[in-house]
């Protein structure tokens, strides 16, 4: 159970963002707002084919167009984009990027999806650059394509890579991912009941509001890149490595960023293409992607197919869980393709075998809880179904079978999962809202309730911070965060103010510029508050000591403290964050429309650094999860392999009218790790949301919806 936290002076109180004024007056400078003297505008020509070999590219007419200053193709811009295909999701390992056989370049031949870059143009005006694209003649030999992972593994399927469509791992082997504990075959034999089912999830795009843009400027052999990245340090290192420059020659600046949601803690092909154009043109270049290009040329969540087999005893105790999964990676394996979720159950025998598969769809990458929302949808729908089949309340089934130790062996640093579920069920009035007999409401409009829970990583690790104080007692906090929208700048300011025992108004946060900020882990994996926050505390303690010894500096002097701690969890424990989501839906069975009428999130994120922004984070993740459950999809034309719904409207991203009021309840605990007890938050609320909504739909209509998204046609079809 959670202990009462000691209140702090600054941390833990609802505080408006320190840059809120900029965000409501239009004064925040995002990458697309950067305008440099003599800057050119760039556009990218992309493959219209899902799979094709380029025989020839003729750019002469484009180059001859007045105003065009540079054209790049794979012939004069052949950089390996290390982060574009890291063969297994190992983002930060240079050796792997060097060794992998399945490398992605800034431009590739063959092209492997509709949207694969083919050429890029820089011109004095964006309209001229657009016109120039039409003058580039590309001779394609169109190759057969395949879109679905299971089809791609069949004999005779079109081969996207010479080694086949089973994506290689970092050691260039075709090895499935997975884990094993006990013996599932024995487990199934010892079970009284064995259930099997198939679930599938769709490609959903990050769709952050800011379309990708990049501005690159060379001064001699020094390069400055303005680009939307959640990790300026990693982005800089990636750009430098890919272009063959020392890290110190590259400066990455991201002052404001219009949303992240994953796979932006590194560089992108747009950065390499823009830098190449700027070099060739001898002028700064701004590349702007259209919304459609952002949808098809960037990345989204990997679609999956999940086959489960679950064994239980008569009293509803799990005996064995088996998962065979397939993840569609698109033409390149940008991230792992893993499918998570089984680990949140206690079970002596488990086995997961997950195959990452190349397809000719848009590339998949990390998106808010990379392998979890889709994996949780699969396993927690499956388990929900098992609970009903065992004539158990799904909440009781989970309380019986949920994780109590990590992988059934390691202690958690603290454990509040049961409290999250019990308190959530009570506040939600689960017993009242949940239909014991699914689909039993009379009439065409039926209500039902569902729930899902989560246990999600919240590790500690290395990051840096530099703090300075001047003679006036102003404190400068240099941190390599961008603040992608989660409020990292403000959080760092709050932590510094708390640790220095000064008011927030005396703190100036310096962020988003590798020229002025030390290494930060980058805003991915819900790690910034924990890791960079810890570094801020250590630097603050050092600075306080210096001030105690020497007093405040005089005149133009500064006192400076730097910290780069690498904390570790002691005693083989595992640090996780816990939560449970309870959802009530109303389904119009005549129209097929499912609508969320009540949504409660209960989260233990440790101490909540800033409840104002923290609640926003949790709400946002839950609402994204509702969208993924009910309508988001990137639909493809099977015949041509072309995406048909690339855009906000087509991909059915949630709008104001789609969303319920999401209630958020925090259970705050301090396990002794993290800055003032903070745990991870950013991704966590999306993780169980999709499954919770799906389970509520089942409870309302009595039909198990196994394929995402749960659209109107599928609901009507299931009830027909």
């Amino acid at each position: 159970m959670s202990e009462t936290l000691k209140p702090l002076k600054t941390v833990g109180h609802p505080t408006p963002r320190i840059d809120a004024l900029e965000r409501v007056t239009g004064a925040g400078h995002y990458t697309g707002d950067v305008k440099l003297p003599g800057m050119l505008y760039a556009r990218v020509l992309r493959s219209p084919h899902a799979h094709a070999r380029i025989r020839k590219i003729d750019v002469s007419k484009a180059e001859a167009l007045p105003g065009v200053k540079a054209v790049v193709t794979l012939e004069n811009c052949n950089f390996v984009w290390g982060a574009g295909s890291v063969a297994g999701g190992i983002q930060y390992n240079d050796e792997i990027k060097k060794n992998t056989r399945q490398r992605r370049h800034a431009f590739n031949n063959p092209v492997r999806f509709v949207g694969d870059p083919v050429a890029a143009v820089a011109a004095t005006d964006r309209h001229i650059a657009e016109d120039a694209l039409h003058l580039i003649a590309v001779d394609y030999e169109v190759l057969p394509h395949v879109l679905e992972p299971e089809e791609a593994l069949k004999p005779g399927a079109p081969q996207i890579w010479p080694e086949g469509n089973f994506a290689l791992n970092p050691r260039n082997e075709q090895q499935p991912m997975g884990q094993k504990r006990g013996n599932v075959e024995e487990g199934f034999r010892a079970s009284d009941h064995v259930f099997e089912d198939r679930y599938s999830t769709a490609f959903v795009h990050n769709a952050q509001m800011e379309p990708r843009a990049c501005v690159a400027q060379w001064e001699g052999d020094k390069l400055t890149v303005y680009t939307p990245t959640g990790g300026i340090a990693n982005c800089r290192h990636d750009i430098a490595r890919d272009l063959g420059l020392p890290d110190d020659n590259v400066r990455v600046i991201c002052q404001y960023m219009g949303g992240n949601f994953g796979n932006k803690n590194q560089n992108q092909d747009a950065d390499l293409i823009t830098a190449s154009l700027a070099k060739l043109a001898g002028a700064p270049v701004k590349l702007e992607l259209s919304r459609k290009e952002d949808f098809i040329g960037m990345h989204g969540r990997w679609p999956t197919v999940q086959y489960y087999k679950v064994g239980v005893s008569n009293d509803g105790t799990l005996k064995a869980i088996q998962l065979r999964g397939f993840s569609g990676m698109g033409g390149y394996r940008k991230n792992s393709g893993a499918i998570g979720g089984i680990e949140c159950y206690q079970c002596p025998n488990i086995e997961t075998v997950i195959t990452p598969v190349y397809t000719n769809k848009t590339v998949s990458g990390n998106f808010r809880g990379p392998e979890y929302p889709q994996g949780y949808f699969g396993i927690q729908s499956m388990m929900d179904d098992v609970a009903y089949k065992m004539k158990m309340d799904p909440v009781d089934f989970v309380l019986k079978n949920m994780t109590r130790k990590a992988n059934d062996s390691a202690e958690y640093t603290n454990y509040t999962l049961e409290e999250c579920i019990r308190r959530g069920a009570e506040a939600f009035e689960w017993k009242k809202r949940w239909r014991q007999s699914p689909g039993s409401d009379p009439g065409p409009v039926k209500r039902g309730a569902g729930f899902a829970f989560m246990s999600f990583r919240s590790g500690v690790g290395h990051s840096n911070a530099i703090l300075r104080v001047d003679s006036k007692g102003r404190y400068f906090v240099h941190v390599g965060v961008t603040d992608v929208g989660a409020g990292a700048k403000t959080t760092m300011g709050l932590i510094a103010a708390e640790a220095l025992e000064v008011p927030l108004s005396q703190i100036e946060v310096v962020w988003g510029d590798t020229g002025r900020c030390p290494f930060s882990v980058g805003e991915s994996g819900s790690r910034t508050t924990i890791m960079t926050g810890h570094a801020v505390i250590e630097a603050a303690q050092d600075l306080k000591k210096q001030i105690a010894e020497k007093g405040l500096p005089k005149g133009s002097d500064f006192l400076t403290a730097s910290a780069g701690p690498t904390p570790r969890i002691q005693g083989g424990k595992v640090r996780n964050t816990f939560g449970a989501h309870f959802v009530e839906v109303e389904v119009d069975t005549e129209l097929g429309r499912a609508h969320v009428t009540k949504y409660l999130c209960v989260h233990d994120c440790g101490r909540v650094m800033n409840p104002l922004t923290g609640i926003s984070q949790i709400k946002g993740g839950a609402i994204m999860g509702i969208g993924m459950a009910l309508h988001e999809d990137l639909v493809y034309d099977r015949a041509s392999g072309a995406p048909l719904s690339a855009g906000y409207y087509g991909a059915r991203i949630s709008t104001h009218r789609d969303v319920p009021d999401v209630e958020v309840m925090f259970i705050e605990s301090d396990d002794g790790y993290g800055p003032y007890g903070a745990k991870s938050m950013g991704e966590s609320s999306k993780v169980p949301a999709v499954a919770a909504v799906g389970n509520a739909v089942f409870n309302a209509i009595g039909r198990r919806m196994k394929d995402l998204p749960i659209t109107k046609d599928k609901i009507i079809g299931a009830l027909a």
């Binding site: 408006p16 963002r17 320190i18 809120a20 004024l21 900029e22 965000r23 409501v24 007056t25 239009g26 004064a27 925040g28 995002y30 697309g32 707002d33 950067v34 219209p48 105003g67 005006d125 309209h127 039409h134 003649a137 001779d139 394609y140 169109v142 990050n206 952050q208 509001m209 800011e210 379309p211 600046i253 404001y256 960023m257 219009g258 949303g259 949601f261 259209s290 919304r291 929208g485 700048k489 108004s505 100036e508 310096v510 988003g512 510029d513 020229g515 002025r516 104002l612 609640i615 926003s616 984070q617 709400k619 946002g620 609402i623 906000y648 991203i653 709008t655 104001h656 009021d661 999401v662």
Partner: protein, 218 residues
């Protein structure tokens, strides 16, 4: 040898004209005193327009193909208006044209001739924030902030015509403004709070916060 040809793609101007809205004649009248230096590309049809932006009447030379968003962002330096999709889907570029909310990416600059535009930069009066801006700060309405200008302008138009909207009316009025951070609850809360704010409290109190440092940009 199959050659892929650039398809006869429709230009932005043709597309927007095709939506059936009347277009201001595109005869190129010479600018007498353009407010911003003429940045129009040579050989491209351009037009001198008179437009009042955030209360300031100006005469500027615009290319006929520019959208209002492009004119504001690239030629008037008003980058608070964001382009999220450039095709009328997301609402990040919403501005008020003669008081009505429009997607500035889907309206040509020449259409603004003789009209008034209000952008996010024109919401505050000097140092005094609009009540909506106050409420957006206090209710943490912007997460990443990229859609915020558009949300503000849609909300402004709503409150101008309906000072005390219901929750449903706010959602309906702003449904053309997408927020991928999905901070919809906060936006609605903030608009309702601004509408409920007594006139006396609408002064610039919380915004006295020091502007955060913003170096590094030219």
């Amino acid at each position: 040898m199959p050659k892929s040809k650039a398809k006869g793609r429709i230009s932005r101007r043709k597309f927007i004209e095709g939506t059936g809205v009347a277009v201001v004649a595109a005869t190129a009248a010479p600018a007498i005193h353009a407010q911003s230096p003429p940045e129009t590309a040579p050989g491209v049809p351009h037009t001198a327009i008179r437009v009042t932006v955030n209360g300031k009447a100006q005469r500027i030379e615009v290319e006929d193909r520019w959208s209002i968003a492009e004119m504001l962002r690239d030629h008037l330096g008003l980058t608070g208006t964001k382009i999220g999709c450039d095709r009328g889907e997301c609402g990040a570029c919403t501005v008020l044209l003669d008081g009505k909310p429009v997607y500035s990416c889907s309206n040509l600059a020449v259409w603004a001739d003789g009209r008034t535009i209000q952008t996010v930069e024109g919401l505050a009066r000097g140092d005094e924030l609009d009540p909506l801006q106050h409420a957006f700060i206090e209710h943490d309405a912007p997460q990443c902030g990229f859609c915020t200008s558009g949300q503000l302008m849609s909300a402004k138009a709503l409150l101008n015509s309906n000072a005390h909207p219901t929750r449903e009316e706010v959602q309906a009025a702003m449904t053309g403004n997408i927020c991928r951070c999905s901070n919809y609850n906060r936006y609605v809360e903030a608009v309702l709070a601004a509408a409920a704010m007594p006139a006396g409290k609408r002064s610039n109190s919380t915004a006295g916060r020091k502007r955060a440092k913003q170096g590094g940009l030219s």
